[in-house]
Symmetry: D3
Subunit: 285 residues, 6 copies
């Protein structure tokens, strides 16, 4: 079960409120690279954790709980960036006349309002659980597969795209308060990338954990094609050389090679449609 | 641009058609662990690839194109498993009377029909681009971040959950034809896991690629917290020891330690609602 | 604006309530081939109709309003098929013991309950606006493009898949009441297919309406490829002959021919990633 | 920020694991009536709370944090109900032969496996953040409007549908452990319904809080129609009498009456399509 | 069944067409607070209504039918606001040169076009069934639970958020025609809030209707916790006093009190993964 | 199976990169009128094709494979239009000061960045599989019904809305490179419209293929209403005359007529709620 402290994990300060930046911050809340995703992903992985690996349930709960506080920080940052945003046309003031003239009737404040509409119209100038396009977060992005190595790579992927987003959002602002918040959150993403890879290392590293799932006997997979790079370009020219075209595989269990892809299967011909299947009569054999 | 051969990449054979298994196969077509996802993910990563890394555009196109053939194989397998599925109540025949008596009126063939409804009602006994629950694939699951290391980990995650699914589907059938198809597809997933990790190795491995993105100067992230495991349990007891609680970090750029999480930020108090914001009058300061 | 009569457009009668059939009927309510779709599609086309074609606004309103009554009929049919469905485990009665024994512990009534869960758990044994998989209807399926010929073909497509579904649902039941309802609804779909094609005929038929939109000067499209069938098989063998490979086009404005597809464009090479773009440093030129 | 205790808020015990019931429980996790919804709704309302109503931020955080523990309880209950579920066809054993004979080839264990597929194929026999149809939770269901009275009614609606679902799930099982869990969760829903209505009472009850938002001057709404029941039946017969057809309104600010709805507006005729708008030429005036 | 009159329920007039405002109006059509939602919600509640409460079927049909006319009014308003919107770059005219110079190459008309893209590109300058972000309406937002009191609170919630949105949209425009339309629609929302609460009053008010569902015997819920406010802050300090922390409950069936939340359950430990479950071998006990 | 050539099907050239136009182009990639839709629709129709109509599998594969190359062209066009888009606030330069002054603090470059956020924040200045609002493509839009005539009309509908979109996008730009790309793609849509209608012609035209499905005996549909236009306006005035109100039907199997719609069914009264159904006690008979 869970507890809260009404203070934030780390200070959130906005020196110059910027409603457009509020909108951009939503990506870090409800985008696929955002905090709702990692928070819920780690919780569901923890809740489905099985003996004898209970140590990882514990670890996941620590970090999932931390991430809940990150959503809170970002939601606070969104609201702070919206503090002085316009809610009425009348507030636009005299500047409009000039701009209106320049733009032949188009009102840029309207444009801004339009971009803010979700905040203005639906959430009362607060954060919402959607991305910067207003697309709501879809819980299908929570990966919890029941295979711990697969889950750890999903977590690395989440933190890698997450830190990339954080860097982009930090680059997109000059606000010192926001910069400071990002210096903290980017540091946390650094650690989280490390942390999930450390579990893979505990599981024996790439050699011990791969191919995922390692509980399926490799003898039952097709031995001819499990370390082959399939070339599918039309002209059959060899693909550029890379670590994956020759030499021992990373898991030490095979040797990379290149296979020029050709059809090994049949032209599929399905039986005719059945009389009562709602097909056209021409399809019914 | 692209070409086709009307034969399949690998033979698809179904010895005993099983409509319920057809439904389960849909997860490998339109599930988040499925083939539409990897196919489209690799294409979009290829199409967004930038100089000077054009070698990876080439590599991604080879594999994306291969995956398109995997969707085709699975769609064929679905249709073959549906070849003899019932389309009319009348086909249920005499067995129903017995079963109906046993079950007190519930008709198990109806149950099966209900489960098949998407195939029966919407797709004419063919595959559709959704998962085994009938939930359509949502293209938001295509990860193409513009950061090549992040993308490679997303690809490893996709192939790890994908091979896990493939193993489960192979375990769930005794059909020799289906087993043979899976021995091929599982082998391909083995290679694909290797392949994306091999790119990370080419980029310098964990030390060269992490923290992702490695183009952000780590000096600008908060140095105090970038290799700390944050403990968030209520009683403050130390978390279980792991590779991530002490010792050098995997990227060789820091040392792991444990930090007992405490609020470092303020209790956030947002300004009152504005007069025309559609709030209750009690909220307007 | 709108009015109602609390009687149904056509009688809905269920002789033998069947909860599984209730679930199947949902496809005709909230499936992409269902009645919510056509109802809302015709309304939005009507509401966006422009002078001087106001006659079609009128026509669309007549039929949209009719379709609203079809949703009502089907929702009533769903509820009637659920009249005697079990809501408590205890109702399953003695038959369970036998079946349980046969099935080694699996309870088929549970299976049925599981399939009904949306009706049992969420809607109180009534219809809901989703399909037979429980996937809610997504209004993105409403096509109203502002081009009347495009919209009419969208409507034909909707009524063609709709009548196909109706035939499948009629085939899937032996209930005389349900059969009678379908004889009515299938007849209406026959008319609606005709009706939208009749608008195309009023617009001059295929010759007058195509290519859609016909307001774009065909002289501005690439004259070399606008009536060519592009063959994309790898070996370059000619495709099977069809009405579309030779002879005058259907719109009378060109002649069909076959073009063996070859790259006419460049290998695309995008510029390197920018320094602050969140890419890996290896991607930054 | 947040903390956890690795013990559950209340004991979760499953005496007879039932995989179908596991699937039904998902509705209480990821259904629109479920716990993810209330948890996230209360958090987002708290995080957007504004001075001078900070007392409600505090109250919302208490209950949102409690609800997070409810998701955890239910996720645990799902996993426990799946403990002995079959993962391989071979486990079905001898009973199948008999049942298969009875059912003419249909294998009921397959049916169960099909229903479980999301747990079997995707989550490794653990809970996932979707409903009992496998439809992922969509964060658009989080209501946080910025108007505190509107939010409280949204919360009452959530707890009312939530307790209705809880009662249905309790009725659907005979397992004593599950019954005990529900006796706790149903009690909590009772309190939560009270709690949000108590806020309305603090705001002055229906008279003080309505019409929502009460900050809009009612003098600016059309005085002729703000307490009128609009009758829209075709024949114009008076609607049945109810509390809403006559007498003082609940907010004490008007008197109910009945208005026979008639068009007060024009037949809308929109201007013709513009020349370059992609319409058919017949639509361009 | 249903009828239409081609005139609008209330006059829709736009004095100064504003394409950005058209986009904002979409929130009132296809947003979760919008008219499609209430229309369809009331229809589905009506269609699932059961004896002996047929009076409420009648009432719901009256209002659902009214709401259909509101969608029509708003769709008309959207199209009218788009009457003079640009469809071609060339129309932008000479002003662009000036603005372009000011903005260093950024073209504000392009920005506006970008924002309008859904109207420009997909709907031919007419309304579509999505919100102001272009997110299509998802029918999962239709609440029809089968419990009449729960449904009425869902309806109050819908009209409360709906009127809040209407007020915000009215505040966001100075157009006299639009203001007049809102004065009508805001008045209707006032009535609809009253109307659904009046049903609760007919059902005996909070005391008669709560806890919802009132058909579940409260003796079967945990008596210790059904009127307790659970405090979940970490330090255990008492929460702020409110109507919900002490005194008789609103339904007159209990007394509010405060309970300091502590784990009453176990640390959950799930059994190990099964051999064929696709887990890592390290997870298999 | 499939092959690629790394060159594009047709040259893609952007003379003046325009980030807003990049965003608009997304509609042609991931909009419902876009290329992902037709590509996947034709593939799934091909993969579900049944004997003896294998000629159409071949035809569909040719065109599906062509469409994959169109996604690639458009994805390339998006990336090229984003080549010089700003990624940092600092790049905005001196012009901002002027504009900021004019606009009273609102920064138009911020507005542009906000609009670009998906490209800037999530995809690293490359295309993504969503529409111009950032809404991801939903595979439910793939129509493959198993009825070949229904599918062909779905394809005509897709190409009609697709060419309409293409014309609008061509009209929205003055860039010669983009104009040239559109002249090619618009030509292809012309052919594709023809091609699917040519299949209908091969099936016997409207007379041979309609009503769809033509395998259902028309004698089993209600003969009274299958060629009647139902008038649903309240006052019963005859609808405007059209091709569909009188004369022989297009399929030559009936005669159009007008039927004034009146209720032919009952007022539906459903049985009371069951005791354990979670309804209010007032609903339980």
């Amino acid at each position: 079960m869970y507890y809260f402290d009404k203070r934030l994990q780390y200070a959130v300060r906005v020196d110059s409120p910027d409603p457009i930046y509020a909108r951009m911050l939503q990506q870090a809340i409800g985008g696929v690279e955002g905090e709702i995703r990692v928070c819920m992903q780690y919780f569901f992985q923890a809740w489905g954790n099985r003996a004898p690996n209970t140590k990882y349930r514990d670890m996941l709960l620590h970090t999932a709980t931390e991430e809940l506080g990150h959503i809170e920080m970002l939601a606070t940052a969104v609201a702070m960036n919206l503090e002085n945003a316009p809610t009425k046309v009348q507030e636009a003031g005299a500047a409009d006349a000039i701009v209106g003239a320049v733009m032949g009737g188009e009102n840029p404040r309207h444009i801004a309002e339009g971009m803010l509409h979700k905040h203005l119209l639906s959430s009362g100038m607060a954060a919402f659980p959607g991305n910067s396009d207003g697309v709501p977060f879809d819980m299908n992005h929570i990966y919890a597969s029941g295979n711990i190595a697969a889950d750890m790579y999903c977590n690395v992927a989440a933190e890698a795209t997450g830190r990339t987003l954080a860097v982009r959002l930090s680059n997109a602002t000059n606000d010192p308060g926001m910069k400071d918040m990002w210096s903290f959150l980017i540091a946390r993403d650094t650690m989280h990338q490390q942390q999930w890879l450390a579990v893979i290392e505990e599981l024996g590293g790439v050699e011990g954990a791969l191919p995922i799932p390692n509980s399926f006997p490799q003898s039952e997979e097709n031995q001819k094609f499990n370390y082959s790079f399939f070339a599918t370009n039309r002209d059959g020219a060899p693909p550029p050389e890379g670590r994956w075209t020759a030499g021992p595989s990373l898991d030490g269990k095979g040797n990379f090679n290149v296979f020029q892809n050709e059809p090994m299967g049949q032209e599929p011909v399905l039986g005719p449609a059945r009389p009562d299947s709602g097909a056209e009569s021409q399809q019914i054999g």
